[in-house]
Each structure stands twice: as structure tokens, then as C-alpha cells.
Amino acid sequence: MTRQIEDAVKAGIPIFIGYVPAAIAFGILSKGCGITLLECFLFSAVVFAGASQFIALNLLMTGMGSGGIILTTLLVNSRHFLMSAYLSTRIGRFAKRYIFLMAFGVTDEVFSVLSFKKGPLSKTFIFIVQLFAYTAWVSGTVAGYILGGFLPEILTQSMGVALYSLLLAILIPEIKTSVTILILTIASGLLNTLLIKLDILPKGWTIIACILIIALAGSFFMTDKVSEKVCE
């Protein structure tokens, strides 16, 4: 049990460090859009979805109606369906009530950390990691709203890189042990770039298309040996 907690804290701290700057950026942007501190707080506390919160602010500014913004959010966040589908194969027998709370915290980064954790996922581990992520996201949002005006723009821009380097840093140990993973990752990124350039899918759907196509392709090429390595 102690070991579980220790591991979870170790996994949670990097997410915390990655989330705070991104959340600060969100807080700053919200203030610029003229929404109140309470509304800004509610965005992060109730929705808890990084990218789509930024997109929602943009859409609010363009004057899009509630329906359009909510629909866009659904499209952008549908990718979490696939992530939860993966995670559901990694958790053991859980009481249903835990699933309701756990599902709330399935963000891109939490998913990434959980998916590359060795061995089965315990609820202690999952909830501690999610608590770090949630605390960072909400407190960073509020801090950004309140303190935002004091930070220079190039600093807030630089902090935006943290989320991406977090994802990359999570992936590096896996890339080192499996060429298949490296190929899947790069192929997915290239395909996403191509789909965005072609501009044939609505915002957010390119990522879903990439996950579906690349994971499907991967499932054909993956030998049993490699697939075991990816999982455990």
C-alpha cells in the first residue's frame, strides 16, 4: 500500500508541474475574455478538460452560441472514449461507485501516465494521480486569473510547452524499449498533421481519426510478443 502511494505521488508530481503553467495560461485567457473569477473557476473545476476549455474561450469570443460550443466540446473530447476504453482493460474488479469518480479524471495526461504504468492499476494509484492533476488544474486556473497580468507573454507561451513535453517524457522510456511504439507515435503525428492540412474533418476529429487508423494499423502489425511488452 505504501509503495502504491509512493509510486502514485512520483507519477503525480510531473503532471502537477505540467498542469500548473497550462492552467495559469487558461486563467489569464479567461480574464482577458471578460468572464468572472467564479465562472473561470467553474470551467476548470466542473469541466476539467484542458484543450477544450481553451477552444471554448475562443468560440465564446467569436460569439458562437451555447449549442455550438457544447457540440464542439463533445467532438473534441470524444477521444477520451477511446482512452477510457483502453483503461477499462487495465483496471481490475472495481466497485461501480469508483468508476464514476475515476472517469471524471481521465484527461490526456492522466491517461498517458496510467497507460504506461507497469502492472495492474490499483484504485489508490489512479485516484492519487488524478488528485494531483485536478488540484494543479484548478489552483493554477485561479492563480492565473488573479496574477496573470503580471506575467510577460513569452513566459506564459513557454509554459504552454510543459503539457507537450510531459507527454513526450512519459513516452520516451517506451520508445526506448519498442520500435513499434516509436513508429506508431510518429505515424500518428504525421497523419494528424496531414489531416489538419487537408482540412476535411471538424476540429478535434483529426485526433480521433488518427487514434482509430493508427491503432487499427498497429493491431495488424503487432506480434504477440510486442503486444505483451506494450501492456506490461
Partner: protein, 102 residues
């Protein structure tokens, strides 16, 4: 402003739904081999598409700055591993590139 509350609650609902549903569909179920292999490929495919090309629009005036930050993460992460230094270092590198270039 009441309208914004509707947006927030609506967004919360459509975010939570896709995150919750799969746990009911897939948990504790024997999966066919092909489906299992497919699900196992999801993490790498997801991370690739999440990073590329979005990371380049983080520093819109100078995509190279973000690239420099990510390069630091790649090199340090490969060499020493860990997550905290690669992440904080990437922010520092990006900042320095922007600072001296602009």
C-alpha cells in the same frame, strides 16, 4: 452570464459522458485478440497525435522555440530519464529561445 453557466454545465456533461461510458462497456470483459491489440496501440497513437502538430502553435510567432524545448526533453529524457527535469527544462529552453530571438 446565465448563458455561460449553461455552456459550462453542458461542456461538463459532454466531457464526462465519453470518459465514463467505456468503463461500463469494456470492464471485466474478455476481449477478442484483435480488439485487445487495437486497444493496446491506443496510448502511442493518442500521444503522437496530441503532440504533433499542436505543439508548434504554442509559440505561434516562432515554432522553432517550442521545437527547441521539445528537443531538450527528448535528449535529456533519453539520456537521464525522469519527467520533472525534462518538463521544467523544456519550458526554460523555450523561454530562453523566445527571449533572445524576439
Amino acid at each position: 452570464m446565465n448563458n455561460l453557466l449553461v455552456v459550462i454545465l453542458g461542456m461538463a456533461a459532454v466531457t464526462y459522458g465519453p470518459r465514463l461510458l467505456p468503463f461500463f462497456v469494456f470492464t471485466n470483459r474478455e476481449m477478442p485478440k484483435r480488439v485487445d491489440a487495437f486497444l493496446k496501440c491506443i496510448p502511442a497513437a493518442a500521444i503522437g497525435a496530441l503532440i504533433i502538430p499542436s505543439v508548434f502553435s504554442v509559440t505561434p510567432d516562432m515554432p522553432l522555440a517550442a521545437l527547441a524545448g521539445m528537443t531538450f526533453t527528448m535528449i535529456f529524457g533519453w539520456w537521464k530519464g525522469g519527467i520533472i527535469i525534462p518538463v521544467l527544462g523544456s519550458v526554460a529552453v523555450t523561454y530562453l529561445v523566445l527571449f533572445f530571438a524576439v
